[in-house]
């Protein structure tokens, strides 16, 4: 027996895939910008610059769409950890990924329409969207328009911004790898992926 639960609204799904597409585009163009002698995915260097610039601008817009939607619809609560989810929730979930998953133990936290993420997901997505993403976007804007802010001079010049932006890019790439892998840890390998297209996830009764 299984039932379907509606986890991801249309806006969330569109935002998710736009965000994913832009992040991948930014990573690939960023690789060409950083190592132009090794990677030539987009032809001329100036092409990579232009695509990176515009993808960055679109990512800013995409971020605000997500933020405003989640605040207005109050779905931002999905990203906020409750007290019991911090302890013992995070430990229980970590133990599951480190040990229980190999013994085919059931997921300690099954998603519901009001609480779709497990504690580790909540923590990861919260840090991703409220700390890493703003820092990435801010460093990108400062790097894009250095003449528009005296902040750059105060924090050590363009070089500092460049290095920080580079580190953030690696954090996002690492996050992307982990995110892709963990998406296979649902009830079936593709169940999480399918739910990001349809919005529904099958809830199996164990």
């Amino acid at each position: 027996m299984s039932e379907k639960i509606y986890l991801h609204t249309m806006v969330e799904r569109i935002w998710h895939w736009t965000n994913g597409f832009l992040i991948i585009l930014l990573v690939l163009t960023g690789m060409q910008l950083h190592w132009p002698d090794t990677f030539t995915f987009f032809g001329a260097f100036s092409n990579a610059v232009l695509i990176h610039n515009w993808s960055g601008i679109l990512l800013i817009i995409d971020f605000f769409v997500w933020l405003i939607y989640n605040i207005v619809s109050k779905r931002i609560s999905h990203y906020i950890l409750k007290k019991e989810e911090i302890y013992p929730g995070l430990i229980v979930q970590a133990k599951y990924y480190l040990y229980g998953i190999f013994k085919r133990e059931p997921h300690p936290y099954t998603p519901t329409e009001n609480n779709k993420f497990n504690p580790l997901q909540k923590l990861a997505y919260f840090v991703y969207m409220f700390i890493f993403m703003p820092l990435l976007l801010l460093s990108g804007i400062l790097y894009l328009y250095p003449e528009c802010s005296s902040l750059i001079l105060k924090i050590g010049g363009l070089k500092t911004i460049a290095i920080f932006h580079f580190i953030m890019a690696f954090v996002f790439t690492a996050f992307l790898i982990i995110h892709l892998y963990l998406s296979t840890t649902g009830d079936t390998i593709f169940s999480s992926l399918i739910s990001m297209f349809t919005g529904y996830e099958e809830k199996k009764e164990h």
Binding site: F45, R104, E147, C148, S149, S150, G157, A162, F170, I178
Partner: protein, 496 residues
């Protein structure tokens, strides 16, 4: 501008007497003279003055507008003093010759004056006169009937983009500015002091009235358009605004005056030529200290007054025939300001000896700049000069934030390199609105100028460490996945 029909020139609107303060408060004869009580029109009009404001407005306009009237005699529009002053430099000291030149100038040049009435009530006499709007007084003179009726052949065509292939001035295209938005009444009415030429007028229109440099701690005025580019601070008082921001403008060559067989005066010039030339300021002053200015050839020749007196201009060479110009073809981006090297290496935009006619070489000796020196020669003290010039942006070294250009190798080539602190960035305000609406990226400009050094922000140790962490992440995921698959299979088998 089409000439007016005779009735249009003279028609006084009856509303003028009821709605205009001058019409309501003053009867006609108060300003124009004549006798309104006389029933005979001929004797009634005896002593009538067409323009009561010229040459002395004190008895008419000056009764109410006393302060402006007092300054009337110093207004360049009224007195045309620069014409006289500059011509007198070229004319010898012989009194007889001077008198004949004066007569010629009175006939051909001095009729182009204006007056209170010829700006605020009627068209200027030099273009046939005629009331602008039924004798209504216009506080701000209309551009098309008054300003450009005299300043039409050069200023109007330049400002409104009527010269083929030359864009209109940005103040017209973007701001729709009228002449009077920059050239205010104060400037037109005279400063109260006599000036040799218009560049000495203290209350003249200046670019800096609106375009101000951003100085830390100094607030900008309400109408200010901040000057963002660091080149402004570098070139301040050395290069005129027009040198970087104007495009092609009109040059006139030769001029002869005379009278035809009917006794009517005429003048004859060669066809005008469009062009752009940077020259030395022949007479830097406190008001105009710039060394480099735009220059134009003026309509003058040695035989200008030959019809009246042969070889009158014995001191012809004492003044240049290429004089400082302020073209009204202002653009933000021009061919000469696209980068530093355009002006600092090429002679294309400069007045050269080739541009000056051989017979005028002597008079322009102080105006023709010396040929540009190639940057490689100017920077010959640098080791590996060509490599530096190729890879280092001019402004990186010639930065206004530094007291003097970078000359010490260690300033750049050291662990505490000044380049790491982004000295090339000038701390200034920037309009985010402008940035978004123009849809341009700073790095696009850097790329076009080839100022960006690819790979300049790479740190090998950071690259290696980051790639190692990424690979490690990937490997951990693969191992985790593999263990999942193996344990799942074992569990499946044990169930069977």
């Amino acid at each position: 501008m089409a000439p007016l029909e005779p009735y249009e020139r003279l028609f006084v609107d009856s509303d003028f007497l009821e709605e205009d303060v001058h019409g309501k408060m003053l009867s006609c004869e108060k300003c124009h003279g004549g006798n309104p009580k006389d029933n005979n029109w001929k004797t009634a009009h005896k002593g009538v003055i067409k323009d009561p404001s010229y040459p002395d407005p004190s008895e008419a306009c000056g009764v109410c507008h006393r302060e402006i009237s007092k300054r009337n005699s110093t207004s360049l529009h009224i007195r045309l003093l620069p014409y006289k002053n500059k011509m007198h430099i070229r004319v010898g000291s012989d009194k007889e010759v001077r008198d004949k030149v004066k007569k010629a100038m009175d006939t051909h040049c001095m009729g182009c004056h204006s007056s209170c009435g010829q700006c605020h009530v009627s068209r200027p006499n030099s273009v046939g006169g005629g009331l602008v709007e039924g004798h209504f007084f216009k506080k701000t003179p209309p551009v098309e009937t008054n300003c450009t009726s005299c300043h039409g052949s050069r200023m109007e065509k330049e400002y409104f983009g009527k010269n083929k292939g030359v864009p209109a001035d940005v103040h017209h295209t973007k701001g729709r500015f009228k002449c009077t938005d920059c050239h205010r009444g104060d400037e037109m009415h005279g400063s109260g002091k006599e000036h040799f030429d218009r560049y000495e007028v203290t209350n003249r229109a200046r670019c800096e009235d609106c375009h101000q440099e951003v100085t830390p701690g100094k607030p900008l005025s309400d109408k200010s358009k901040p000057l963002k580019h660091p080149a402004h601070a570098i070139h301040k008082d050395k290069v005129s605004c027009q040198t970087c921001h104007s495009v092609s403008y009109k040059h006139c060559y030769n001029c002869h005056v005379g009278k035809d067989k009917h006794g009517d005066p005429y003048f004859k010039t060669e066809p005008s030529v469009m062009g752009f030339k940077i020259g030395f300021n022949p007479k830097p002053t406190k008001e105009r200290p710039e060394r480099y200015v735009t220059v134009r050839h003026i309509p003058i020749s040695r035989g200008l007054f030959d019809f009246y007196v042969k070889d009158a201009l014995t001191n012809f060479d004492k003044a240049p025939t290429w004089k400082m110009a302020t073209p009204h073809t202002i653009q933000l981006k021009t061919p000469q300001n696209k980068d530093c090297v355009t002006c600092h290496t090429s002679n294309d935009f400069y007045l050269t000896e080739k541009d000056v006619r051989p017979e005028e070489m002597q008079s322009n000796k102080d105006v023709v700049p010396s040929p540009r020196c190639p940057p490689a020669v100017l920077h010959n003290w640098l080791p590996r000069v060509s490599l530096h010039l190729k890879n280092v942006d001019c402004i990186t070294c010639h930065n206004t934030l530094l007291r003097s250009p970078i000359k010490d190798c260690n300033q750049c080539h050291s662990q505490k390199s000044i380049l790491l602190k982004g000295v090339a960035i000038v701390e200034e305000e920037c309009s985010w609105k402008d940035m978004v609406t123009r849809l341009e990226f700073t790095n696009k400009e850097l790329m076009e100028r080839k100022d960006y050094i690819i790979g300049c922000n790479r740190i090998l140790a950071l690259d290696i460490m980051s790639i190692f962490i990424l690979v490690l992440t990937f490997v951990v995921c693969v191992i985790h996945g593999a263990v999942r698959v193996i344990t799942t299979r074992r569990k499946g088998k044990s169930r069977v």
